[in-house]
């Protein structure tokens, strides 16, 4: 199963209620898979091809506002178009799942895989002080797992969750274990779990309002303080990462998604050459595992951040490291995936030799 298809299938099985999307390479398989699966017959899930990405993200808003599990997916230019909608979703505190199969930018760029939307994803591509909870899958299995986990975290925090994938993971096939079907929310469950949802004002409660507007600054500030508290809670509770070969490591790669897979192979190659290097793979990009990375600086002599970008996550690594050890960035970009050999060479040149 391709990563994109695994994501789609897992979403159905996670009890998704609705998917709203617009075609764009390299993730059109998500909607294509869903349409072919007739989830409307399988589970009652709605799948709709919207007239644009802007419409799609606002459909997500309208659906999420009724307490449903809704999702969309796109690739870089389409995700840029969704930035206003994403900011609204965060402002109105609506749970939803968004997948970005990142391709090389800027502009129309190339459809080849890239990691150059890290800043957009983690610091807020839209306006205002908001954060997405960002999950970075590195395998087809994680594409599937993070569909379900994404929904669950989205509802836990009433916040959009972004699965930051790329063309490589989306197009790749690997063995994947899929969770069994989970039922969609019942109307009763929605009333229970999401009492804020606009499901129709019944006599037993006040009307529900979904909005991100606060005319008075004082209220808006209070709202922002509450949002910030939520993001701090995520930083406490949701940091996820994987460490590979770090126990005896003198050097470390920090890489996520596709790059982290390359780094795994690079570790093998480097160790064959007697270089003790490990890998720290952030799984959540926000919240970023900054404490773990800070701790690593007591052991490793240098860190190479490998990204398919001109250097974005490296800033978060540097913020965590605060100058205690050398942190360098190695990147290929514009749709090029670095090879394991290149990565080892970069480690030698930029960190060990440098």
């Amino acid at each position: 199963m391709k990563g994109n298809e695994a994501f789609a299938e897992a979403a159905i099985r996670a009890g998704a209620d609705g998917y709203f999307g617009y075609p764009i390479t390299p993730q059109s398989e998500v909607m294509e898979y869903l349409m072919a699966e007739k989830p409307h017959e399988r589970t009652g899930m709605i799948v709709l091809q919207a007239e644009s990405e802007v419409a799609a993200i606002n459909m997500v808003y309208g659906g999420a506002a009724t307490g449903k599990r809704v999702m969309t997916s796109s690739s870089s230019p389409g995700i840029s178009l969704k930035q206003e909608g994403i900011s609204y979703l965060c402002g109105a505190e609506l749970p939803c799942l968004i997948m970005n199969a990142v391709r090389g930018g800027p502009g129309l760029g190339t459809i080849q895989p890239s990691q150059s939307d890290y800043f957009q994803s983690t610091k807020g591509g839209g306006h205002g002080d908001y954060r997405l909870l960002v999950l970075a899958p590195a395998s087809v299995q994680e594409m599937a797992d993070f569909a379900r986990l994404g929904f669950d975290l989205a509802f836990k925090y009433r916040n959009p969750v972004l699965v930051l994938s790329d063309g490589a993971i989306g197009q790749m096939m690997e063995k994947v274990y899929l969770d069994p079907q989970r039922p969609r929310f019942t109307d009763e469950e929605i009333k229970q779990n999401t009492p804020w949802a606009t499901t129709g004002k019944t006599p037993d409660r006040e009307r529900n309002i979904i909005t991100s507007l606060a005319l008075e600054s004082a209220k808006m500030e209070q709202h922002n303080i509450a949002l910030q508290a939520k993001y701090r809670q995520m930083e406490e509770e949701e940091v996820r990462y994987e460490k590979i070969g770090c126990d005896d490591a003198e050097y470390a790669f920090v890489a996520y998604g596709t790059s982290s897979r390359i780094c795994q192979k690079a570790i093998q190659l480097a160790r064959e050459q007697g270089i003790k290097v490990g890998l720290m793979r952030p799984i959540t990009l926000f919240p970023f595992p900054k404490k773990i990375i800070a701790q690593m600086t007591s052991r490793v002599k240098g860190i190479l951040v490998v990204e398919m970008s001109a250097g974005q996550m490296v800033e978060d690594v540097r913020l965590a490291v605060e100058g205690r050890v050398k942190v360098e960035h190695f990147g290929r970009f514009g749709g090029i995936i670095p090879s394991p050999v290149e990565v080892v060479e970069a480690l030698k040149k930029q960190i060990i030799g440098g």
């Binding site: 690997e174 063995k175 897979r261 093998q268 394991p340 290149e342």
Partner: protein, 184 residues
């Protein structure tokens, strides 16, 4: 066991599906697999290639610099991938359309005249399976039983009638493959 394979040729030659059947067969045989296409920006035409890894262990990078086996179906791919075969590895190619034959001395080289044979036998649609047969002859990493299951899994149900034809093509390929140079 880990087998790292690149399959490369024209878009229309069934390169990706050959890889897919191999990968699915691997899954059926309970192996770890990875199938990673280099998808081009153009829908049609142009070259296509796919990296297939079949292993008993968890697979690290789905993208590689060097391969145990390269299966090469046009000249452009020959130019690009001949050098990426690991020393001691295998290169399989269909000489049809190849103007510059492989030159490396440190690898085993096999040719398989699959295009020609496919035309002869009216098996053009399963040309790629002939090539796959050739590979499986050399590297029987998945058994025919699982190839059958892989075909079932990767072909849409309406094409299942074609499975015997596919299997026949694989057998043809096993016969057809010829060593040009082997390392012992």
């Amino acid at each position: 066991m880990t087998e790292e394979i690149i399959i490369a040729g024209f878009g229309g030659q069934g390169v990706l599906s050959m890889g897919k059947i191999l990968a699915y067969s691997g899954v059926m045989q309970d192996k770890e697999v990875s199938w990673m296409p280099s998808y081009g920006p153009e829908m049609r035409g142009g070259t296509a290639n796919v990296t297939v890894i079949i292993s008993d262990e968890r697979i690290s990078s789905p993208i590689l610099n060097a391969y145990d086996t390269a299966i090469i179906l046009n000249q452009q791919s020959m130019d690009k991938f001949e050098s990426t075969v690991k020393p001691g590895g295998i290169l399989i190619y269909d000489p049809n359309g190849i103007t510059r034959h492989p030159e490396r001395k440190d690898i085993s080289i096999y040719s398989i005249e699959a295009a020609e044979k496919a035309g002869e036998l009216g098996l053009s649609k399963v040309f790629n399976m002939i090539v796959l047969g050739g590979f499986l002859k050399l590297k029987p990493i998945v058994s025919m039983e699982y190839i059958h299951k892989g075909l079932q899994k990767s072909l849409p149900a309406r094409h299942h009638v074609l499975i015997p034809e596919n299997e026949k093509a694989i057998e043809v390929g096993k016969e057809l493959i010829k060593a040009k140079q082997t390392l012992n």
